[in-house]
Amino acid sequence: MRRAVRRRSSATEELEVIAPSKLAINNVSKSFQSASGKVLALDRVSLNVAEAEFVCLVGASGCGKSTLLNIIAGLEKPDSGEVLADGKPVTAPGRERLVMFQEPALFPWLTVFGNVLFGLNLKPNLSRKDRHDVAKYYLELVGLSRFERANIHELSGGMKQRVSLARALAPNPRVLLMDEPFAALDALTREQLYGDIQEIWKARRKTIVFVTHNVREGACLGDRVLLFSPHPGRIQEEFAVELPRPRDINSVDLAAYATRITKALKRIGQAEAVAAE
């Protein structure tokens, strides 16, 4: 007699490169109540992101770019307007769109491996072995296989962000949302990660929205760089970065782009963002 086989997706299937999402942000507004009154964090922001596109949002702190990222993630709701992921409105967080935060946000009560496994354990139809295989694959991808049994507090800042990246990639999201993930790292570690993230993006084909206040970082990583202005948060200008990949943060061509973007930033009255660099 033939045994009934329950349909399960295997680790190999799970590791397949899936189609990245298309994002449409339509007229999104959001305001906050602060001590000094109502602050308009986002004012009718519209933006389209193509499948597998790498978009960088650049602007000074407090210009609403992180708020926009949270709204795309579904962690916050807009006052008006909507976010569509592949045509479907985003109403709640979901593992299709995973976030990498500025602070690593890793769970200190789990090991490195346990952290990468966390999102996978919430995915149905996977066997224990598949989950472990997938977690191992991503730890390898970020170059931390040797540290899978390590505790979080034993890791350096750069390693923590690598684990965060592996954790965000493991459930195979269509969109990766990155909120200044490298801002707290030293320059050397950051440069390594610029190379790694470009490689991983190429290998895993994700739609990436990347928030930063670092113009050069934006020019190095993004297909497009969007400039935000604060009070109220708006997208002011857009730059397409047409340089071959992988890009080197220290290349002369990149510096030329960064200079142009910085000039534009100054023009829209954001000198403080540049000063912060």
Binding site: P93, G94, R95, L98, V99, F101, A105, F107, W109, P171
Partner: protein, 204 residues
């Protein structure tokens, strides 16, 4: 080694001082027995088994009371952390009752339960319960919001969120509350003994 010797020396000196005070006969031997008398009493108690028996009973009372305090306190703490209604009611009550020294419960326990095991258990439970409730609430409310947000994006919800994120994140606070609860249980245990002895001494 040097530290050990120093510590041993300190206690030897203490014993000698005690012995000297006994020999000086300032106080009656009933109020201040010599260290050797106390030692021989302990030795007899150990030999005839009463010491071990009494220790067992004390530990049993303590552990039972502590366990009840934990089992009731943890869920109550979670409730007060999660819902304002519980925070304003049970939380406020816990705060008030925690400040009460557990010796205050002794007369009530005697009135309600009489000279029974239940009375002692009640005093121990009252000593631990409230600090566990408060520690759990504080722990849960101090969980960094970023953990919740990260877990939310990965699809964690409701019970999974509580058991896999919030409880483990709050554990350091909860454990320190449990330690405090243990200290309180221990003290209320002693109180019971003192009370118990006094009653026996006075022929009840």
């Amino acid at each position: 080694m040097k530290r050990l010797l120093l510590a041993a020396g300190f206690f030897v000196v203490l014993l000698l001082l005690w012995d000297a005070a006994f020999r000086a006969r300032i106080w009656s031997p009933v109020l201040l027995p010599s260290p050797w008398q106390v030692a021989s009493y302990l030795k007899n108690a150990a030999v005839d088994g009463t010491l071990a028996g009494a220790t067992l009973i004390t530990m049993r009372r303590l552990l039972a009371g502590y366990f009840i305090g934990l089992v009731v306190g943890l869920p109550l703490g979670l409730l007060t952390a999660r819902w304002k209604l519980f925070r304003d009611t049970i939380g406020t009550m816990a705060l008030g009752l925690q400040t009460l020294p557990s010796v205050c419960w002794v007369p009530l326990a005697l009135l309600w339960f009489g000279q029974t095991e239940a009375a002692m258990l009640f005093v121990v439970v009252m000593g631990t319960l409230w600090s566990v409730v408060i520690a759990t609430e504080t722990g849960v409310r101090n969980v960094p919001p970023i953990y919740r947000r990260a877990a939310l994006t990965m699809g964690s919800k409701r019970l999974h969120m509580w058991f896999k994120v919030i409880l483990p994140a709050a554990l350091p606070f909860i454990v320190s509350g449990m330690k405090q609860g243990w200290a309180f249980a221990w003290r209320s245990g002693h109180r019971d003994h003192v009370r118990d002895r006094c009653h026996r001494f006075a022929g009840r």
